[in-house]
Amino acid sequence: MTLDTLSGWARRLQAGEISSRELTELYLDRIERLDPDINSFVTVTREQALAAADAADQRLARGERAPLLGLPVAQKDIFCTRGVRTSCGSRMLDAFVAPYDASVVERMNAAGAVMLGKTNMDEFAMGSSNETSHYGPVLNPWDPERVPGGSSGGSAAAVAARLVPAATGTDTGGSIRQPAAFCGVTGLKPTYGRVSRYGMIAFASSLDQGGPMAASAEDCALMLNAMAGFDSRDSTSLERPDEDFTAGLDRDLKGLRIGLPREYFGDGLHADVRRAVQDALAVLRERGAEPVEISLPNSDLSVPAYYVVAPAECSSNLARYDGVRFGHRCNDPRDLMDLYTRSRAEGFGAEVKRRIMIGTYVLSAGYYDAYYLKAQKVRRLIAEDFRRAFEQVDVIAGPTTPELPFRLGEKSADPVRMYLSDIYTIAANLAGLPGLSMPAGTIGSLPVGLQLIGNYFDEGRLLNVAHQFQQETGWHQRMPAAFA
């Protein structure tokens, strides 16, 4: 059977052309056969998936309608799933079975989704290559010698290899958009507060945001409809009326003002990526969009500000892993201090430890003003750059990443170089803005991502622009030959 998109499968399920059980078995078989090549799943939940598919088939037979009814999806292993191990890519949570569902999981289940399993990720979402996972790296389905990006690399690779039509991701500094670009899929980080963080294991609470990853903008809109919405259990959830993100997909782009920040097209940008992005922008122009050169003058401060704010919040959030209430505990602790320090040293990997240490240092007595407070002020400068830009333009466009997917091991010895692979994505997190990455072309066999950044609450517009682009181009339909 030809593989379809999430939206395509939804239509075929409703028309009775295929049952949810058949669809679920089709993808479970693909996972079983093909995932050993890319390691994109940490846990596959075959039994639960088939039971959920049967339940969905009964609902479909009764004529019920729900946004994701009977559709197979995967959850990033950062979202708590009741009764199913939630590892967050860490030895610390290798045996952790969450006692409750994350809001996102609860919402998607209520919308009828069939979860096939939990996807691999950088440990505690800290990484840009998926190499920090306790369960081994995910490999890029377009080239197994290259990384899929991170931290949502498992979700991106699984969608790219068509092991699942759609998956969830989370994005603290680019963790949806960068792997989406590296794997040739569409991924959306919504406005901060759109998608509930309840039950989404915390990394940096003022930046973390969940969102969809799928083969097309239309599929992301369908997913976001199920994922987004106010949740009283998340203290930073936005109180806004629910929106139908599929409603505006068909609007034309006539007169749309697209801002091109000159800082995103500077020296650090790989020539091939630049060319692919410019070709993609030409397609948007042909559809009536008007490019406008803009400036985001504080762009070069975004990565440094992020590497103060995110580690500070991480050190505070990860203090809960103490070997007492849940998670890894060392053997035969001598005393309480030994229990804490050894459980944490054994449970966390090298990158997580580095970030906890940076955060601990910048929050320690006497350093708060020099680091965290300063970074929070810079954060406002960055948000102000965007505010001024959105007085002139409707959306901002540029490359998602400065270069093509890099080779495994290429950057793991040099944290700062690894951090700079998120140079174009981090600012949207600091400002809390929505951002999307979509496949914009290829260099050799490797995909290139085009990033769109929107004003607050303008996810619908980003999805509209991406959908219009995808009506004109076929980049999002390509899939790696080895997985056809």
Binding site: L301, A305, G327, A345, M357, I358, Y371, K374, K377, R380
Partner: protein
């Protein structure tokens, strides 16, 4: 900025992370590189700029002071490494 192994051990103690000497040396080098990198913040003109805690400057929501949670102690303690009689077990703290 250049951190020494001793400073790394002090931070590790604050973070409740056990580090051996070899690890402390590696961390001193890696953390020093990262701190050099974030020094760029010193070039920012932040005179009179208010720190930004929430992207939308939202305020803390309040709810009515009513009981909303039920007691789920057993469920939550089910996943603990060591419990007995409803309490978490740790090495002896008071002699």
């Amino acid at each position: 900025m250049s951190l020494t192994s001793n400073e790394v051990r002090r931070i590790a103690h604050l973070a409740r992370l056990a580090v051996d000497d070899r690890e402390a040396e590696g961390l001193a080098a890696a953390l020093s590189d990262i701190f050099d990198f974030v020094e760029a913040l010193n070039n920012a003109d932040i005179e009179g700029i208010a720190p930004m805690a929430h992207p939308l400057d939202a305020e803390q929501r309040l709810r009515p002071d009513r009981v909303t949670e039920s007691d789920q102690r057993e469920l939550f303690q089910d996943i603990a490494p060591a419990v007995e009689g409803g309490v978490y077990l740790v090495p002896r703290v008071i002699e």
